[in-house]
């Protein structure tokens, strides 16, 4: 294939965030179209360079074509909506119906979430799998919480080891999931600040006590509602076609849900905590984008170094 053509098609594939199956088919169609047109233009007397220039100009910029492709292919089916919203619904039901009291239900829900997350990862991380993957990060937070129960000296020893390891592991997951599209990593991380907010609302000193569990009982309907709000967000996210709307939805919904957490956790969460949580929320939404930018910047530097100097 002509290098200019392959670059053009590769840029479209990258910008349109195409999945392998859809991507190969649409790129093949674009390639066939361009080759037909090139042949016709060169037979009409244009040089190869002129023909390529005319052809790519009439196809449209990679940004325009990629945007149209993204909008045509990005909308998920209702089955995907149900699958993607399911972990939030399950967590919501745990609290709305007070199932969280029963270890059996907790075990079933957690096992369903891990099994589905592993299945989704193994099946190439389809769009619906990202919301499940987010919940599979919860045990990492739980391990951090359990370390607080160690005798004082041991906690001081364990936490400096735990934090870098947990952050490294989280970074690896983000780096891996954002390869396809950073926005899915943000989707995956969305429940974490909400959970952190509720945790702080029920136990501001960071430890679960008998009193904290009473507080969970008190907050249970609102905790359930916040998970249901996330389920609705995911449903709308999967059905939306425009990328800007998807990003806006995550940002607005995340902040509104946090506001709900703070509003119903009155007396426990002050303005400073709310601002801190908002920063965490924006961090959650933007860290995957930053990771992608850093990675592409690093790749560009490497490519630049590899390119021999031309005179």
């Amino acid at each position: 294939m002509i290098p200019e053509l392959s670059q053009y098609l590769e840029k479209i594939r990258h910008k349109a965030k195409l999945e392998d199956d859809d991507g190969s088919a649409i790129i093949s169609e674009l390639e066939a179209h361009i080759e037909d047109k090139l042949q016709e233009l060169t037979e009409a007397g244009l040089s190869k360079e002129e023909a390529m220039h005319t052809c790519l100009g009439e196809m449209g910029s990679t940004r325009l074509v990629a945007r149209h492709i993204y909008e045509a292919y990005s909308q998920g089916t209702w089955k995907q909506v149900l699958l993607a919203a399911m972990p939030h619904i399950l967590f919501g039901l745990l609290f709305v119906l007070n199932w969280w009291h029963y270890p059996g239900w907790l075990f079933i829900v957690l096992m369903a979430i891990f099994a589905t997350a592993i299945y989704g990862w193994w099946r190439g991380k389809p769009t619906w799998a990202f919301s499940w993957l987010g919940y599979s990060l919860v045990p990492v937070l739980c391990v951090g919480g359990l370390l607080l129960y160690l005798p004082r000296g041991w906690s001081l020893l364990a936490l400096p080891v735990y934090f870098p390891l947990a952050l490294w592991w989280l970074y690896r997951i983000i780096a891996h999931t954002s390869r396809r599209d950073w926005i899915f990593s943000s989707l995956m991380l969305l429940p974490l600040p909400i959970m952190l907010g509720w945790f702080l609302a029920i136990s501001p000193n960071g430890k679960l006590t008998e009193y904290s569990l009473q507080r969970v009982d008190y907050f249970a309907p609102w905790i359930g509602m916040s998970f249901m709000a996330m389920a609705l967000t995911i449903a709308a996210f999967i059905r939306l076609r425009q990328r800007r709307l998807r990003i806006g939805l995550l940002a607005v919904s995340g902040c509104l849900t946090l506001t709900l957490v703070v509003y119903y956790g009155t007396g426990r969460l002050n303005t400073l905590t709310f601002l801190g949580l908002l920063i965490v929320m924006w961090g959650v939404l933007l860290v995957p984008l930053l990771e992608r930018r850093l990675r592409s910047g690093r790749l560009l530097i490497w490519k630049h170094k590899d390119t021999p100097a031309t005179t």
């Binding site: 169609e29 066939a32 179209h33 196809m59 325009l64 909008e71 292919y73």
Partner: protein, 115 residues
């Protein structure tokens, strides 16, 4: 997919145009572009890369169906044809457009209304 001042006028009619083009025979993407340019005498000009997402949406709605075909020279092309649902939709859209055009023509004709 249209660029220029006609954009708004054409925006809602792109699916109707594509269905009309596929009414007579199955076509592949580049053939559709050429046929549209010929039949409209160059009136409809758009960025050709945006044709395929439009075709995908019609296919997703079940109005057209695409099939890859191998050519004797070893290259492949994807031919699109109307489905039964697409034929019904085209008939409906055709009737609506004809009513619309009749109404526009009647409105634009001078001196036909009575006080």
């Amino acid at each position: 997919m249209q660029v220029g001042p006609k954009r708004d006028l054409i925006k809602g009619s792109s699916s109707y145009l594509l269905l009309s083009l596929l009414e007579r025979q199955p076509m592949y993407g580049y053939q559709i572009v050429k046929e549209l340019t010929t039949r409209s005498q160059g009136y409809f000009k758009f960025k050709e890369g945006t044709l395929y997402p439009a075709l995908h949406r019609l296919e997703e709605s079940g109005l057209i169906s695409g099939r890859w075909q191998m050519l004797p020279n070893g290259r492949q092309r994807r031919y699109y044809h109307l489905t039964e649902k697409g034929e019904a939709k085209l008939a409906l859209e055709k009737s609506q457009w004809q009513d619309f055009l009749t109404a526009i023509n009647l409105t634009l004709q001078p001196g036909t209304s009575r006080p």
